[in-house]
Subunit: 293 residues, 2 copies
């Protein structure tokens, strides 16, 4: 939560004032939002890429809405340093607390040129692709879901291939369907999703598997992180159960005692994401994993 | 084969000269290629749609390259009449014999406006979508495969939804993969294809299943026709085996005697396609079938 970020140091919390060290060049964070056109208007040229090979430079798309993007950003920032992690979205973050975690910039996954510019200007080496139109919104706007979840994904994959990036794309429990086996759902099984969101995530999984053949040296990676309840209605319910139980000492749950909820502790999920991204390519038997198994 | 078409009547074979009867309006086949812009340039207006409810009006995309499109066109023409079946592609047919079967027009599945114009002007009610970038070409040009097989499919589905068309999209044996069970491959199973062509066909299957929820009354349909060998290298081999055996009385086959080739007799496949298209929506338990089972 946001408290962590604040507790970790107020000087780090206001990224606009903290300079980004990049080779010999001292850039204010605000530069991240300048396009090469802007630089050229002022007679400037884009800086050379950073040469720091110690840490990856990470771009996270779709970071505006919270838990996942901001949670992972905090973990990655602890691991690699705040200025090696950039949050991004097409809209401003919902709360100011988000930009206290890491630099936050505009990126539009449907604008390939914009994305490439960000990758080059910030010497990005890892791309965490959280942008997506989720289940309910997608069902109400199939055209938007196809555009963002499929065309947007293709843009991301093309750029990752061209620039040798490692990519992480979360899948969803919705990539399975009523015909998939449960308890536990195997790594490989029937996948007949019921929503356009689920269909687009199956497509992301298959694109990851198929493209690994072209991009093994670039270590292109996709994983499923099914079973994580923290973005569904069920998860809000679960959070309420735990919070109320801790606060008041008890919670009366209306579920049958043998009901299983498909949940995963968010810290386990974020750790799995990081370990997956750090794993050497030749240690990965697959490009898609069910992290909740 | 082409001989059939010629044998069926020379007066039918030259469609450019045979008028298309459509309500009170007598249109030459060449009109099919006039856009509404052209009509408007000459002070004309597009004709009202045909009112014939007896027979479907059928557009077949990707008809240029033969066996499938032309074979189905011949079957449909026998069933519904020659002028109710239109072959189409972005390139001229490979042989003149193709246009002797049915009307042949330009259609570009990446040009949504062009497609909609054809559907409206010809009062299309069934759309047989054969256009695709197949395995080998797709592996060499992934961008083209994504454009034609995914964006093109989305165009087709959008138009089918908007105009209440029945759609048939053939899938492929390549929509399975090494992890899919065999002998026989079940209707529903693991699908981890190895090519961008296979990935796009899985996507077509899933889009069919997911969109049936929106378009049940419009009877939108997709099927898999896996196991059909006549478009693969294996099929050329099989054809050679049979032809040589019939011609010379024997053929020395280098396959082990227990080798199974995934083949299906083309007439069975075409019949399955027609029966699937004619089936009432409520008799279909699924929108994807493995016709070869």
């Amino acid at each position: 939560d946001v408290g962590d970020a604040v507790a970790e140091g107020c000087s780090e919390a206001c990224w606009e004032q903290s300079p980004v060290q990049c080779g010999e060049i001292d850039l204010s964070g605000a530069w991240l939002q300048l396009s090469s056109q802007h630089l050229s208007d002022f007679g400037g040229t884009p800086p050379p890429p950073c040469t720091d090979t110690e840490h990856p430079k990470i771009l996270i798309t779709g970071s505006r809405l919270g838990q996942l993007g901001v949670g992972l950003a905090k973990l990655l920032r602890r691991q690699f340093g705040k200025n090696n992690v950039i949050l991004s979205d097409i809209r401003k973050p919902q709360t100011m607390s988000t930009i206290m975690v890491c630099p936050f910039i505009f990126s539009d996954i449907l604008d390939s040129k914009n994305l490439r510019e960000i990758v080059v200007n910030n010497n990005i080496s890892w791309l965490i692709h959280y942008s997506a139109v989720l289940s309910a919104v997608g069902e109400n706007n199939v055209a938007l879901a196809k555009e963002v979840n499929i065309t947007g994904l293709h843009n991301i994959l093309d750029i990752a291939t061209d620039h040798g990036l490692r990519v992480f794309v979360p899948s969803t429990i919705g990539a399975f369907g009523p015909s998939s086996p449960r308890d536990p759902t195997p790594e490989l099984c029937v996948q007949r999703p019921r929503t356009i969101y689920g269909v687009s995530k199956v497509h992301a999984e298959l694109m990851g598997e198929v493209r690994r053949r072209y991009t093994d040296t670039q270590r292109y990676q996709v994983t499923t992180t099914t079973g994580m309840g923290w973005i569904s209605a069920a998860s809000d319910y679960a959070v309420q159960i735990f919070h109320t139980a801790v606060k008041t000492g008890c919670f009366e749950c209306n579920l049958r005692s043998d009901t299983l909820l498909p949940m995963m502790y968010i810290d386990d999920c974020l750790r799995a994401t990081l370990e997956f991204m750090e794993a050497p390519a030749d240690s990965l038997l697959s490009r898609t994993y069910n992290s909740a198994r």
